[in-house]
């Protein structure tokens, strides 16, 4: 993949702004920017206290930004509701303090391009046949009957498919991986705005901490998956198999942008690492891996087995 990010610099730059200080997390590698004079004691992504000052990077400016829509109080309420609605979480986690919620502008690349695909596949066309068979009736006599059966005729198809790929978002942050970003997508990109430094006022913002080539590879993987699913939907017939395709990507482009996320690093046990929950700052979609209580799960399994055994026993008695 060639160089695919915007080269044009914008009027304002978070990198050149004297109003922002650079911080780096030694725990997860996140590269944060905060307003000058504002200090954070711990990393919003992993709750590590090992946050140190770093020189400001002189990288690419963001092109776009999506602003926060979900306010802090609402984020906290949604996090509590999400924990309450999750089954079998550890009691200490369910009672943990979720007040430490941080709003962060996450760096991400918005990928777009065009794809031209040569494909071949076996297309299944269904048809029905009437079969004659012999069976035994209620009186024990052998009888001949007919039934209809659906069969599939397989035919070869090859062709071309072409489309633009857009709205592919991949993380540019080491603090938050792509699976987590995918879990809180989609963002409504109709609310996209040109980046200006003033929109970051009062918020933490992260510089890209993944290499452009790594982000490009992530974006390409998502684009290939998108082509695969859209191509499968393009196939005619009742079913298909052996779908093979060769894709040529053209005019690829990646624009660096900032996405709003609320991050909660929930510390529920001094012996355990904090549990991270991430919330889409625009739509409120939430993800996380809450710690499960194996005692609760085992209890539920025992109750279920007892209930089944009781039902069987009562059935047998009846």
């Amino acid at each position: 993949m060639g160089p695919w990010y915007a080269a044009a610099a914008l009027d304002g730059s978070i990198h050149q702004s004297a109003a922002l200080d650079g911080l780096s997390c030694e725990g997860c590698g996140a590269a944060l920017n905060v307003a000058s004079g504002e200090r954070t004691a711990k990393c919003p992504y992993c709750a590590s206290p090992n946050v140190v000052a770093r020189p400001r990077s002189a990288g690419e400016d963001p092109t776009f930004v999506v602003g926060f829509v979900i306010p802090e109080d609402d984020a906290r309420k949604r996090a509590r509701a999400w924990i309450r609605s999750t089954w079998f979480v550890k009691t200490a986690f369910a009672k943990a303090d979720v007040s430490d919620v941080r709003g962060v502008y996450l760096p991400a690349y918005l990928y777009s391009g065009s794809a031209t695909v040569q494909y071949s596949a076996q297309i299944g066309e269904n048809y029905t046949v009437t079969e004659t068979y012999t069976t035994t009736d209620a009186n024990g006599k052998t009888v001949t009957r007919t039934r209809t059966k659906v069969k599939t005729e397989w035919r070869s198809l090859s062709g071309q498919w072409a489309a633009y790929l857009d709205d592919v978002l991949v993380t540019a942050s080491r603090g938050l991986d792509n699976a987590e970003l995918e879990a809180i997508e989609p963002y409504d990109l109709r609310a996209l705005r040109r980046f200006t430094p003033k929109i970051l006022s009062g918020w933490l913002a992260e510089d890209p901490s993944r290499a452009v080539s790594e982000c490009a590879e992530l974006a390409r993987q998502e684009a290939v998956e998108q082509v695969g699913s859209r191509l499968a939907a393009h196939m005619p017939g009742d079913t298909h198999r052996d779908l093979r395709h060769e894709t040529t990507f053209q005019h690829e482009h990646g624009a660096l942008m900032l996405l709003p996320v609320w991050v909660l690093a929930v510390k529920y046990d001094p012996q355990e690492p904090p549990v991270r929950m991430v919330l889409n700052g625009q739509t409120g979609a939430i993800t996380g891996t809450p710690p499960r209580s194996w005692i609760k799960i085992a209890g539920a399994v025992v109750v279920l087995i007892l209930a089944i055994a009781l039902t069987v026993w009562m059935g047998a008695r009846a």
Binding site: R155, A162, D166, H234, G237
Partner: protein, 317 residues
């Protein structure tokens, strides 16, 4: 100002486009000479339906013409595009009211018998709703089943591609009217009767383009796919077709900002308000809600049940 063109799909870019409306390529930042005049636009934004209309200091009643909710003055950060062509009003206020009256009387048995007589029509609001009208070229790839070359199954798969050009496809940008309402209204306008300035109704409100064109990419894409699907049937061999799929790669998409005339009316029947939209060109086109007569429905159900009971009784004798 020189015309800016997308480097990926060659579609002309508009001032407010953050990304190309066709292929989503981010647009370059405007240079100082390309920026529009720094005049601060004001629009009136509805608190209810979100529609934005042109601000007028003379406006005495800050009520939305689309839904009647309160409006507030808003100063948008992005440039506000203006309609460049207005389709003329040819239907008068009286004709619009009469059209709604006729429509109320034509709804059939299951509506209240006194609906036409008792409905109090009022609150007539003439307005221009806005939309983009676009021309484009597109490469279309299609795949479908047809009866040509069929074997044991009645269907055989086929694929192909073709190029097409489309003209005058309307994509609604209205926030005040629903997409469904716009879809019904749009094909009935006589596009030969357009003017550079609003004409045909002195008191009509003009809706503003408060949705970015690039935000309409999905709607434009769906519109092109509909056209491609209709045209693909001419390329598929055989007489019967099913499972038609198309992929469209548009290019050179040009848009015009259009304003289309319509009337939004309200009528009251038995203390309940109903909304109606009457076409500004074709008074026979009325889109409205109307009450059902539950008494008539109950009588019909009772008659059907009684008849069924009689038939069953007669058969069992």
């Amino acid at each position: 100002m020189s015309e800016r063109v997308c480097t990926r799909c060659e579609s002309p870019l508009e001032i407010e486009d953050l990304r190309c409306a066709v292929c989503a390529l981010p647009t370059p930042v405007l240079t100082r000479g390309e920026r529009p005049d720094e005049t601060v636009a004001q629009i009136l934004r509805c608190n209810g339906c979100g529609a934005g209309v042109r601000y007028s200091a003379e406006a005495q009643a800050p009520r939305c013409d689309f839904c009647g909710s309160l409006m507030e003055v808003e100063v948008p950060e992005d440039p506000v595009e203006q309609a460049e062509a207005y389709v003329d009003f040819t239907v008068t206020d009286a004709e619009a009211k009469a059209a709604l009256g006729r429509w109320l009387g034509s709804l059939g048995f299951f509506r209240p018998s006194d609906l036409q007589a008792e409905a109090a029509v009022g609150g007539l609001k003439p307005l221009w709703w806005v939309g983009w009208m676009f021309d484009a070229a597109a490469a279309v790839c299609w795949a479908a089943d047809s009866d040509a070359g069929a074997g044991r199954s009645a269907w055989a798969p086929h694929s192909g591609r073709f190029s097409m050009e489309v003209d005058n496809v309307v994509v609604p940008a209205s926030v005040g009217l629903t997409a469904k309402e716009c879809e019904i209204l749009a094909p009935r306008y006589d596009l030969g009767r357009t003017s550079a300035e609003p004409r045909g109704h002195a008191n009509a409100t003009v809706e503003q383009f408060t949705v970015q064109r690039s935000a309409a990419r999905k709607i434009i894409s769906e519109s092109l796919e509909d056209v491609a699907r209709a045209r693909a049937t001419g390329h598929i061999p055989g007489g019967s077709v099913r499972n038609l799929r198309v992929s469209v790669l548009p290019s050179k998409l040009t848009t015009r900002h259009m304003a289309f005339p319509a009337f939004v009316l309200a009528y009251r029947y038995k203390d309940k308000l109903y909304r109606a939209v009457v076409h500004g060109h074709d008074a026979d086109c009325v889109i409205a809600e109307a009450p059902l007569s539950w008494a008539k429905i109950a009588v019909v159900v009772a008659v059907v049940l009684a008849t069924a009971a009689l038939v069953v009784g007669a058969l069992s004798l």
